[in-house]
Symmetry: C2
């Protein structure tokens, strides 16, 4: 055995990063050779390439193609220790991170990169019926719900119940909602029809419900209009200006209309993780911590908050969007600030967000891209999107496999990862949380 | 919508196949063009390539690489209807199959290919602590347990508890047990060491516990001896002649010795599915139905039992082994019998099993192969094994991706699918079965 838990006798300043998403991973990468000892804490063992999560949720990619074990990412960084554990709080006076299990981890510098979950605007009961899409588990769950809906319809005798099984409601018309709706429509209208004998999957309804006036409101008007048109072409019923007033096991309420529906997916809003509350930082309505120009907390200059957990306005006073490039820029910036504090070099100026552009896919063959002066639509935009995402995927092998899968679905119109996996009722996974299951896999509880 | 559930007005005789494993799928393939209407019923939506399941359980392959949606397999067979559902029994007088959900399915010919689960020899309580390996869920669960054990050890303060986390017991030294133990040892000794900072994964113990006198007893003595030697070389502690007397959350009992251990995998025995009891057939001690020379039931000539659910002795009186090639041969044979009954051609002679050979891998670079006159060991046998399995994989694409993954692990010594996915406690999956969860995904309950 190597040394056990007693803090290793190590003079190097200790940087603790909580969260192995884009911001946390980039921060650690940028701290290479900074002369610090780094500990990464995450409740999961993998980094997730969230921009492609909707493809894992819609049978195009397999989970293992969009996620990488954090240990593997940093296996060659002897200065990085990875701990899989759940953070329960931060003791800012003792300067240590508290874990649900195991000894507290003391820090000299703390980087909170804990991201966000979806928000139900106070209707948390809706989550049981309208899962959001933030984790691999979410993706597997949504894929299961979508594929099972068709299976249930195939074995359903009652026409009304069958129609409900074949109605899919996606709530929220941001990029995630649009991308999910587009691919579910393609599944129903182009990919699955030949697989079923009793039902015609083309009879399925895919509703994209948006409270605001337009889809993809972050995009320029003409791109938003193009998106709406091409979604309609894929068979998506776009409903804008319609507020969802209820979600249940068998229906979605839109205004005072009740639409029978067995599959609802939530893509309407996000809520930051509790990181801000751990350190008593003031936060915005989405629960994101307000940070200073160097992304540290006014009250605790040795604590930084980055990525979706931080509320940052750039020089122009514009809020920095919750997208991967922004998270990476924050992570790299904080690494530079810490290097400066370590005396390696001068302190950088205040954080400035550089917006590269916005991309959103519409089904498996079209997309829209907004690079400010330049905008693209259709297949051209799709290829730009595909090449950009392949490029940003970590690990050559994944790039290769994902490229192969896309090419495959493109050529054969077949999807690769169309498995329904479920916790087998015979297995204790399905046991009440806190009993069997947590006994056997404490890290999961 | 196409026609709903009323039996389609169709004069063709109706063949109902229960179970989409090797036997069931082969039977349907061999019935192509037989002029029958075929319905395939399975509680899962995919065909599983079980010979590679242990690789999915040990991070070499991803689930989507060894399983294919049944609908996709038969999408071009208009004579085949696939129903995802759970069979609860057979009404032999009304000649129909009873489903947990939906109308009974009547049959003219019934093929029961429901396979087997692992057996705990009456100690069913052990399953909670010693999962077996038969389904994708089993594989994901075992992968989670194995990977989490190392994670837990890394964050464990107490040396004894840490040692228990780093002790892995595989019970049963048949091919599955040997293959699992070999790869877990390689994980600990060759793949993971550089990933961890606090523990030395090479200190992990991998126990292969076998009640009988040898490992791989189905193989000739010199191959069995070679296997034992090469397992030792991989770091596996082979314990033969040792009966397991208990399995708990934190220890395995061997004779009257208690070995602290947090990960136990069961590979010791199988029990046939309840198919035999559905049709009141007499069965052997493993619960397999005794069938006649044409694999039908003496009491019900229109009901056939094939694969691991059937107890068949070949002409030499030797029991047919529960392996994929045997299941495929039975499926193809029954298809021929049914064709004959349909008058297409003469009845085939009694079923004769043709044994091609036995293969077992020892880690990721060696194997043993027994083709009767010819036997192979080491890397040569591994390549024979690899090529054979690549060849027998269904879709071209999977062949390609699996080949690529093997090549990748071979060259880089890195494993591809090292993700821990768990039902997120925030999600209702973890709710008691029969409440939330079953409301939302009835097919899974």
């Amino acid at each position: 055995m190597k040394t056990a838990h007693q803090p290793i006798p190590d003079k190097r300043p200790h940087v603790v990063v909580v969260g192995g998403g884009f911001a946390g991973v980039q921060c650690i990468k940028s701290l290479r050779g900074a002369g610090a000892r780094i500990t990464l804490i995450d409740q999961r063992n993998h980094h997730l390439f969230q921009p492609l999560l909707y493809q894992a949720a819609t049978t195009i990619l397999a989970p293992s193609e969009i996620a990488w074990p954090l240990r593997q990412l940093f296996r060659d960084r002897q200065d990085v220790t990875t701990l899989m554990g759940r953070v329960t709080g931060v003791d800012t006076s003792k300067r240590c991170v508290l874990l649900k299990r195991g000894a507290p981890v003391s820090y000299d510098y703390l980087v909170l990169a804990t991201g966000a979950r979806h928000s139900y605007f106070g209707h948390d009961a809706w989550e049981a019926h309208a899962p959001g899409l933030k984790t691999l588990e979410d993706a597997t769950r949504i894929r299961r719900k979508v594929l099972q809906a068709f299976e249930m319809a195939e074995t359903e005798d009652d026409p009304e119940a069958r129609a409900a099984h074949l109605t899919f409601a996606v709530i929220g018309a941001g990029p995630t909602g649009v991308e999910l709706a587009g691919i579910i429509a393609e599944l129903a209208h182009r990919i699955l029809p030949r697989d079923f004998r009793r039902i015609d999957t083309r009879a399925a309804r895919v509703l994209l419900i948006e409270a605001g006036p337009t889809v993809l409101s972050a995009f320029p008007e003409q791109l938003s209009a193009y998106a709406r048109q091409s979604l309609a072409g894929l068979g998506v019923e776009v409903m804008t200006g319609d507020a969802v007033t209820g979600c249940s096991a068998d229906a979605v309420m839109v205004g005072d209309r009740r639409i029978p529906c067995r599959t609802i997916i939530w893509a309407a809003g996000v809520q930051a993780s509790p990181a801000a509350s751990w350190v008593g930082a003031s936060r915005d309505r989405a629960g994101r911590a307000f940070v200073g120009p160097d992304l540290s907390l006014a009250s605790h200059p040795d604590i930084f908050v980055v990525g979706d957990a931080a509320s940052v306005s750039d020089t122009a006073g514009q809020a920095v969007p919750g997208i991967a490039p922004a998270a990476k820029q924050m992570g790299a910036y904080v690494a530079a600030v810490i290097r400066a504090r370590l005396g390696a070099r001068g302190a950088p100026g205040p954080f400035v967000y550089r917006h590269a552009g916005n991309l959103a896919t519409l089904g498996r063959r079209a997309a829209i891209a907004d690079f400010g002066r330049v905008t693209l639509t259709g297949a051209v935009a799709w290829w730009v999107w595909g090449i950009a995402h392949i490029y940003f995927l970590i690990g050559t092998r994944s790039r290769f496999v994902v490229a192969w899968n896309w090419l495959w679905t493109f050529v054969t119109r077949q999807n690769a990862a169309r498995l329904i996996t479920m916790s087998d009722p015979r297995l204790p996974q399905a046991a009440p949380a806190g009993t069997e299951r947590s006994k056997r896999s404490p890290a999961s509880s």
